[in-house]
C-alpha cells in the first residue's frame, strides 16, 4: 500500500511529505489529447437519474409520464379532445413493454426519428408558452433507457390523417452523436397503407395499433418493475385524470385490470398564447446573447420588439437611464453597456406581463375532475388571478375534496393480497404507509393493532388468516381524525409525484393555519382529516428545482399566491364544516331530548293516566319542531335559510351523503 493511498484512506494528519522531486505524471499536452466534447447523449447516458430514470420502478412511470404529457400537449395544440391508451405488459425477467397511444395530430414522417431519437430536440424549449413538456428530453431519454437496458429499439407508429398512410419506425439513439438511427427497412421505416392491406402489414410486423384516423403510438421495452401505490403509474394517471377532465384514458396495467378514466368534460382548455419574454425575467447573460443574435437595429427598437410590455417610450426611458446613446446600434453594444442596460431595466417601472398566455384549468373543470376521481362529500375550487414571478406570468389554482372513503377502505381482499405479495416493504407498517395515502404512521399502527398483528411482521410472509384480519381491520378503521391530508401537486397540468418536501406547494400547505378552518393540525405540518388537496401552478415557465421536474421552486410571489389560493378553499371548507357541525349539534340535541322523553311520558302517564304512546309521539314532534326552530334562529343570524349550498358560492360542490345525521 503506497503513501498516498494511506493518506486518503485514513484521512488522518500526516507528517509533512518528504521533499523529493516527484516525477510529473502527465503534462498539459498529454492531457489535452484526452479533452474532448461530451455529447448530450453520453452525458444523460451516465446521469440518467437526472431525468428520473434512477430505478426500475421509476423508469416505468417516467416513460408513461413523458409520453402522456407529450400526447396531451399535442392534442391540445391541435384542438383535439385527447384519447389516450396506456398499455403495460410484463415480458418477464424484470422487463416491461410500455405502449402509449394518442389520437393527436400525428407526426410527419421526416420528424419522427428526430423526436424520438434525439435528446434536446423539440418545439417547446425556445418559446415562452404554457405547455407540459419544456425541454425536449423526456421521451427520447425514455427510449435511450429502454435501449440501454434491453437493447431493443423504440417502436413508433404515427398517422397524420385519415387519407394518408401511417408510418412505422424502429428507432435507436446514437448516444455519441445524439442522432437517431432507423433500424427497420434500411433506415426508411415502413408505410402502412389504409384498409385491409395495412391490416396485413400490421399483422406481419406484429405492430399494435388502435384504429384511429390520426395519432401516434410509441412502444418501448425496458427494464422496469410495475408496482402500485405511491409513485406508481396508477397514481400518475389518476392524478392526470383529475387535472385533465377533458381527456379520456384507457389503461391496461400488467395485472390484468382495465382502468378507464372517462371524459368528465367535453371542453378543451383554451389555447395558450405564446409570449415574448418580459424584461424583468431575463438575466444579463440572456440579454447579451439576445443583443448579439439580433438583427442590426437601434437599441430602442430592439427593446420594444424583443420584449413584452416595452413600448418605444419605455425603451427610451431604459436607454436614457442606462446612459447609453438612444440611437446606438445593437451590434455595437459591449458588455459594460449591456450591464448598464440590465441595471436600468431593474430600475425602470415596466407594467406586468400580459397574462392571457396562461390557460388555467378553471374552477368548474377542477371540480369536475376532482369529483370524477376522488369520492368525497364536499368539493371546492379556487382559481387565482394570474400573477408574475421574475417576469414570468403564472397562475395558481387550488381545489379541495373533503370526506369520503379513505383508500385503505376501498381495497378489496384480492387486491390487498396481490399488493402484499408484490410489495418490497419489509414491515407491515411500511407497507401500509407507502401504499395507502393519508393514513400516516399512527393510522398504520391503529390498523395493525386492530388486526392483532405485529408492526414488524413481514408482509410477504403473512398467513392467509392474518391477511384476512388485516383486511377487516383496514375496512373498519376510523381515520377521520388521524388521517393526514393528501396533496396532489400539478405544474401545467402534470402531476408531480416525487420530492414533496422540496416543493413550494407543500411548504405553503404546511405554513397555512388550517385550524382556522376547523381542521386539526400540528404546528408546521400537514393538516389532518379526510382531505384531498389539489394545487396547480400554470406558467409559461415553471420553475422546477431539478431537471426531473419533481418540485416547484419557492419564489416569494409563488408562495404568496399559493397561500391566497389555499386560504380561498380553506374558508369555504371552514364554512361547510361549521355548518355541518351545527347540523350535527342539532342532531345531538334532538337525541338528548329524545332520551328523556320516554321517561317524561311514563311519569306523566302514572300521574294523570294519559296515553303514554300518544304523549310520547306528540312530545317527539315538539322536539323536532324545537330543534328545527333552532336551525332557523341560527340562519336568521346571517346564514341563508333555504339553500345552504348557495351561500358558499359557485365554486363548491356538495355531494349529499346517504347517512342521516
Amino acid at each position: 500500500m503506497g503513501e498516498t493511498n494511506e493518506e486518503s484512506v485514513n484521512g488522518q494528519p500526516q507528517p509533512a511529505p518528504e521533499k523529493k522531486t516527484r516525477k510529473r505524471r502527465s503534462s498539459a499536452e498529454k492531457m489535452a489529447a484526452m479533452q474532448k466534447d461530451i455529447s448530450v447523449g453520453e452525458f444523460f447516458h451516465k446521469n440518467r437519474h437526472l431525468l428520473g430514470f434512477d430505478s426500475a420502478r421509476k423508469a416505468l412511470l417516467m416513460t408513461v409520464k413523458e409520453a402522456v404529457d407529450n400526447s396531451l400537449d399535442a392534442c391540445e395544440e391541435a384542438g383535439i379532445l385527447p384519447d389516450i391508451w396506456v398499455n403495460i405488459v410484463n415480458t418477464g425477467s424484470g422487463r416491461c413493454r410500455v405502449a402509449i397511444q394518442d389520437n393527436g395530430p400525428g407526426i410527419v414522417k421526416k420528424q419522427v426519428p428526430k423526436i424520438f431519437g434525439k435528446l434536446l430536440y423539440g418545439s417547446k424549449f425556445h418559446r415562452l408558452r404554457m405547455s407540459r413538456g419544456q425541454q425536449g428530453i423526456g421521451i427520447s431519454a425514455a427510449g435511450m433507457y429502454g435501449m440501454l437496458t434491453t437493447g431493443k429499439p423504440v417502436k413508433v407508429v404515427s398517422k397524420t390523417s385519415k387519407g394518408r398512410p401511417a408510418h412505422y419506425f424502429e428507432i435507436q439513439i446514437n448516444t455519441k452523436l445524439n442522432t437517431p438511427e432507423i433500424l427497420n427497412e434500411d433506415g426508411n421505416g415502413i408505410d402502412i397503407p389504409n384498409g385491409e392491406v395495412g391490416q396485413a402489414v400490421l399483422q406481419d410486423h406484429e405492430i399494435e395499433w388502435e384504429p384511429v384516423s390520426h395519432g401516434t403510438r410509441v412502444t418501448i421495452e425496458m427494464e422496469a418493475q410495475y408496482h402500485r401505490g405511491r409513485g406508481s403509474v396508477d397514481e400518475y394517471l389518476e392524478q392526470t385524470a383529475i387535472a385533465n377532465p377533458h381527456a379520456q384514458i384507457k389503461y391496461l396495467p400488467p395485472d390484468g385490470r382495465e382502468v378507464f378514466y372517462h371524459r368528465a368534460s367535453e371542453v378543451l382548455p383554451p389555447e395558450a398564447e405564446e409570449i415574448k419574454p418580459h424584461p424583468y425575467g431575463i438575466e444579463l447573460g440572456t440579454l447579451i446573447y439576445m443583443l448579439k443574435h439580433s438583427k442590426s437595429m437601434q437599441l430602442t427598437s430592439f427593446l420594444s420588439e424583443a420584449f413584452s410590455r416595452v413600448s418605444p417610450n419605455v425603451a427610451k426611458e431604459i436607454v436614457t437611464e442606462a446612459n447609453v446613446r438612444i440611437n446606438a446600434n445593437t451590434k455595437k453594444i459591449g458588455r459594460e453597456e449591456a450591464d448598464a442596460i440590465y441595471q436600468a431595466i431593474q430600475r425602470t417601472k415596466i407594467s406586468a406581463p400580459n397574462t392571457d398566455c396562461i390557460s388555467a384549468i378553471g374552477e368548474d373543470q377542477l371540480l369536475k375532475g376532482l369529483h370524477h376521481v376522488v369520492p368525497a362529500e364536499f368539493y371546492v375550487a379556487v382559481t387565482r388571478p394570474p400573477a408574475v414571478y421574475r417576469g414570468n406570468p403564472f397562475q395558481i389554482e387550488a381545489a379541495l375534496a373533503y370526506g369520503g372513503t379513505p383508500p385503505v377502505r376501498k381495497v378489496s381482499l384480492d387486491g390487498l393480497e396481490e399488493m402484499l405479495s408484490e410489495t418490497e416493504s419489509r414491515t407491515l407498517r411500511q407497507f401500509l404507509t407507502t401504499n395507502f395515502d393519508g393514513i400516516g404512521t399512527s393510522g398504520a399502527n391503529n390498523i395493525i393493532e386492530a388486526a392483532e398483528l405485529k408492526v414488524r411482521t413481514s408482509p410477504s410472509k403473512m398467513k392467509p388468516r392474518e391477511r384476512k384480519r388485516l383486511h377487516e381491520a383496514m375496512q373498519g378503521i376510523n381515520l377521520s381524525a388521524s388521517q393526514s391530508c393528501n396533496v396532489y401537486r400539478y405544474a401545467n397540468r402534470v402531476p408531480l409525484l416525487f420530492q414533496p418536501g422540496a416543493c413550494a406547494v407543500t411548504q405553503a400547505v404546511m405554513q397555512l393555519n388550517w385550524r382556522t378552518y376547523g381542521l386539526s393540525q400540528s404546528r408546521g405540518s400537514m393538516p389532518n382529516g379526510p382531505i384531498t388537496l389539489m394545487v396547480h401552478l400554470a406558467s409559461v415557465w415553471v420553475p422546477f428545482t431539478s431537471e426531473s421536474k419533481e418540485a416547484i421552486a419557492s419564489y416569494p410571489e409563488i408562495l404568496k399566491e399559493l397561500r391566497l389560493a389555499l386560504q380561498g378553499v380553506g374558508r369555504k371548507l371552514g364554512m361547510y364544516l361549521r355548518r355541518r357541525q351545527k347540523v350535527k349539534h342539532q342532531g345531538e340535541r334532538r337525541q338528548i331530548f329524545k332520551r328523556y322523553l320516554g321517561e317524561v311520558a311514563q311519569a306523566v302517564h302514572s300521574l294523570n293516566g294519559c296515553d303514554r304512546e300518544d304523549l310520547f309521539s306528540q312530545l317527539l314532534q315538539v322536539a323536532k319542531d324545537q330543534t328545527a326552530e333552532a336551525d332557523m334562529q341560527f340562519d336568521e343570524s346571517g346564514q341563508v335559510v333555504e339553500e345552504p349550498e348557495m351561500d358558499l358560492g359557485e365554486n363548491v360542490l356538495i355531494v349529499k351523503s346517504e347517512r342521516d345525521d
Binding site: I592, R595, E599, V600, S606, L619
Partner: protein, 411 residues
Amino acid sequence: MIKSQWLSTSSDKHEENLTLHLKENTVANESKKDPSAETEAEAKHRERDEKTNELLMSLADQLVKAAERKRNPTLEIPIRTQANVNYNKSRKIIELGKNKSQRQLFNLSQAKSFMQMILVASGCKKLIDQNKTTSIRGLYYMLKHTIEGTKEETFAKQSECDPMIEDVEVTLNALREELHVYAQSRGTMVGPITIVDSGDEIDCSRMGTGGYGIPSIVEDDIVQFKECDAKFVLHVEKDTVWRRFNEDKFWKEHNCILTHGSGQPPRGVRRLLCRLNSELNLPVYCLLDNDPWGYYIYSVIKQGSINLAYESQRMAIPEAKFIGLRARDFDRCGLSDSVKINLNDTDRRRAEQIKQYPWFSGKKRWIKEIDTLLANGFKLEVEALISLDVSYVTETYVPEILEAGPRQWLD
C-alpha cells in the same frame, strides 16, 4: 314502658332507614278500635292527600296540554335565593318573593332536571296512592333507574334528587309531608310533656338518656299534644350539650322542655318548636354557640330560612329568644384563653353577611353583639363552659341568665 323503648330505638334507626316507612301499623291499630269510624286525624289526612293529588295531576295535565299545542312544556319554579326572599317586618318572618324561574323540557341545560322533577312528582303520587311515606333518600332509590336505551341514570346521586323534591314542593306549593316524603330526623326532645305520635302515647319525661326522637313530620294528624306541664322550651344546638342538660335533669328542676336539632335544626324540630310555641304558648329560648353559625341557627328558628322561605309561616317563631352564648361571656365568666377558637376568613365573611340581613341590621344590640365577636377575633362553643365545671352551664350559667330576664337576652 316497653312501647316507648321500642319507639326510641326505631327513631334511631330512622336515620339510615332506606326502606319505606310503613304506616300500616297505625292503620291496623286504629281499625282494631273501630273499623268503620274515621278519626278526625285520618279525615284530615285523606283530605290533604286528595288536595296534593289534585296538584300533582294538574302538573301532568299542564304538560299534556303543552304537548297537544306543540308548545315547549314549561314549569315555573319560585326562585329560592336571597334575592327572592323578603323580610316581612310586621309579621317578622322571611317570605318567599314572587320571582320565578322557568324550566323547559326542550332546553338542553334543563331537559334533564325537567324530567327529574316529573319523576319526583310521579314518585310522590305513587306514595300517596299507597298511603306510605319514605325518606328523601328512599325516594331517590325509588326513582333511580337507567334510562331505556342509554347508560345514563335518571339520578346519579342523591344530591341531584333532593333539590328536585324542593322544586316540586315550591312549584306545587305543597309541603314535604303532604308529598309523603320526610327527611332524616335529627332532633331529640325531653321534658314534662305527653304526646300522641301516630296513636302511641309517649310521656317525654320518661325517655331515659336518649330522649324522644323528633320525627320529620309532626303535623297534628300525626303528633298531638296531650298533656304539658312545662313552662318554656330550651333549645340547645347539639346533642352533646343536650345530654349534659338531660343528665343533670335540668328540665325537671326548671320545668321545661329540652330540645336539640343537631346544628341547623331540621324541619321536624322547627315545626315542633313552632307548634309548642303557638299551640301551648311556651316561650322558646335558644342556647347556641357564639359564632356566626350559632347566630344563623337562631335566625332560622326565629324568622325562617332563605331556602325554605315558603315554609316560614308555619315554622318561624318570631318570639324566640337568644340567651347565649354571648361574646361578652369570655370576660364575664372568666374563661381561659385555651377555649378560644380563632375566627377564620369564612367566619368573618359570614358574620359580615349576617349583619347585612335586614332582620339583623335593624337591631342595635345584635349589631353590637356581632361587632364584639369580630373585635374579639374568636368564637366560643357552649362546651367551653365545661372548662369551669362540668355542670357550670346547667347549674350556674343558664339559671343566672334566665333569672336576669329578657334584658339580658337577645331578641
